[in-house]
């Protein structure tokens, strides 16, 4: 049986926090460069250039891509044949704390959502555990900024709802997010399951590589249709108009109940940050 020490987990999470926050993912950077080439509106083109320059400068200077270094969301895929030595949750949060300190990242986590005393430590993060076959531990850190997180919406649709209504809902969420959520967006959509599971799927959808469409052909078609419709909204970079309002629309689905049809839309700003390592 493979044994993974909590020390190894602390170190890995710490590295992933710094990497995710300072090194923009290659697929995102490449699609931003494509967007820059395609954009005809001069001001929007300049803004896209600033976004690309920002990513390069952050990498060079080891600075956070965005001052909102997010609430860290950690996805863990635990192979059922491994043994973790020590307290796993403690190790994850310790790793977050170390990484955020080391990377001079922002301490944005307040301990009580109602009392709202100023942040004193960098934790806790949000953790999604999944158990899979095998003997690997896959760790992903997604620092989620709240400019875009605040624009999340959910709708529990009637099961006989026309698909056009669902599309309209999704597009309205994007319109509503407008310039506040730092377009061009990566749009994560969760459809099915229960309300909590649809929310999880929407978040997970953000992690999918940007040019990969859903395996189900009717969902892939829906992704493409929404992508093209959102890019016709003329939101553009900083909400100041232009062709580039979204970089990708990713939908994840799951079986659901005969009486329901949950839909959650979660948005990421253009700085869709994440880093992954397999132990």
């Amino acid at each position: 049986m493979k044994i993974i020490s909590s020390k190894k987990i602390i170190d890995t999470i710490s590295e992933l926090c710094v990497e995710a926050n300072t090194l923009l993912k290659k697929d995102i950077l490449n699609i931003l460069k494509d967007a820059y080439k395609k954009e005809k509106n001069l001001r929007s083109k300049n803004i896209l250039k600033a976004i690309i320059d920002n990513a390069n400068f952050a990498k060079k200077e080891k600075l956070a891509i965005c001052q909102d270094t997010g609430m860290p969301v950690v996805f863990l895929q635990i192979g059922q044949d491994i043994k973790i030595d020590g307290d796993l949750k403690k190790a994850i949060n310790k790793g977050i704390e170390l990484g955020y300190k080391k990377g001079s990242l922002r301490n944005s986590i307040i301990n009580d959502p109602i009392l709202r005393k100023p942040p004193s430590k960098y934790t806790p993060c949000v953790i999604h555990f999944d158990v899979v076959k095998g003997n690997n531990l896959k760790i992903t850190v997604l620092p989620k900024g709240f400019g875009c997180e605040n624009k999340t919406q959910m709708e529990m649709f009637n099961p006989t709802t026309d698909i056009r209504e669902i599309k309209k809902f999704i597009i309205d969420v994007i319109k509503n997010a407008g310039p506040d959520a730092c377009p061009p967006f990566v749009v994560g959509i969760g459809i099915g399951g229960t309300q909590d599971y649809a929310s999880f799927l929407a978040k997970k959808a953000l992690l999918r590589p940007i040019n990969k469409r859903n395996k189900l052909s009717h969902i892939a078609r829906l992704e493409k249709e929404l992508f093209s419709k959102i890019n016709k909204l003329n939101i553009g970079p900083m909400g100041l108009g232009g062709k580039e309002s979204t970089l990708a629309v990713n939908i994840e689905t799951y079986p659901t109940h005969i009486a329901g049809l949950p839909v959650v839309v979660n948005i990421s700003c253009h700085a869709m940050r994440a880093a992954t390592k397999i132990l």
């Binding site: 600075l63 956070a64 965005c66 310039p179 900083m238």
Partner: protein, 189 residues
């Protein structure tokens, strides 16, 4: 690109129009949600403010921690609409400019027009790049708020786009972009 030196007196504001791109040099102050709440509480209780707001600029920003050997950490704008309910009160106190991202409520647009102020946008999600325009930074007030403390920043050629001008013209309305939902109403003092 046009350069503008601060403080932002009313005479300088008059000629600025939506869509204009400018480079600001001089002193600006950071303040976001909690600092706004504190400032407005002080105003309500007729207490002295830690800064005289007359002809000053507030930048909606909570930077990351200062890395060693750097002036400031990543320091881009945060969403302005969350400050909507506080803004008219600060404008009444003499604040002449704001830097942020995104649209404002009708109350804020009306107050900007009434007090002949101005609303600037800066590059959203470009906090690393914007550090290049900050020459000095120090905590000025509410240090207990951590990233939400008020910082005094000295900026040089800080890039902005005019979002709402002193006539109350709004860049987002001029663009035929979707109608964005307006944030909550302003607080009454």
């Amino acid at each position: 690109m046009k350069k503008l030196s601060l403080p932002l007196t009313k005479g300088k504001i008059k000629n600025l129009k939506i869509g204009d791109e400018l480079l600001l040099s001089g002193i600006i102050y950071t303040a976001r949600d909690k600092a706004h709440q504190h400032l407005v509480t002080l105003i309500k209780n007729h207490k002295k403010l830690p800064i005289d707001l007359k002809n000053q600029i507030i930048y909606y920003c909570g930077p990351t921690a200062k890395p060693k050997n750097k002036i400031i950490g990543s320091c881009g704008p945060t969403t302005s609409s969350r400050m909507d309910k506080f803004t008219p009160i600060l404008l009444k106190k003499g604040l002449s400019g704001i830097i942020g991202k995104g649209n404002r409520s009708k109350e804020v647009v009306d107050a900007i027009k009434k007090y002949k102020a101005i609303y600037f946008l800066t590059y959203a999600g470009c906090g690393a790049l914007l550090t290049r325009y900050i020459k000095k930074a120090k905590v000025l007030a509410f240090s207990g708020l951590g990233p939400e403390a008020i910082l005094k920043l000295e900026v040089k050629d800080f890039p902005v786009i005019i979002g709402i001008d002193s006539l109350g013209k709004n860049i987002y309305k001029s663009l035929k972009v979707p109608a964005y939902r307006q944030a909550g109403k302003s607080l009454k003092v």
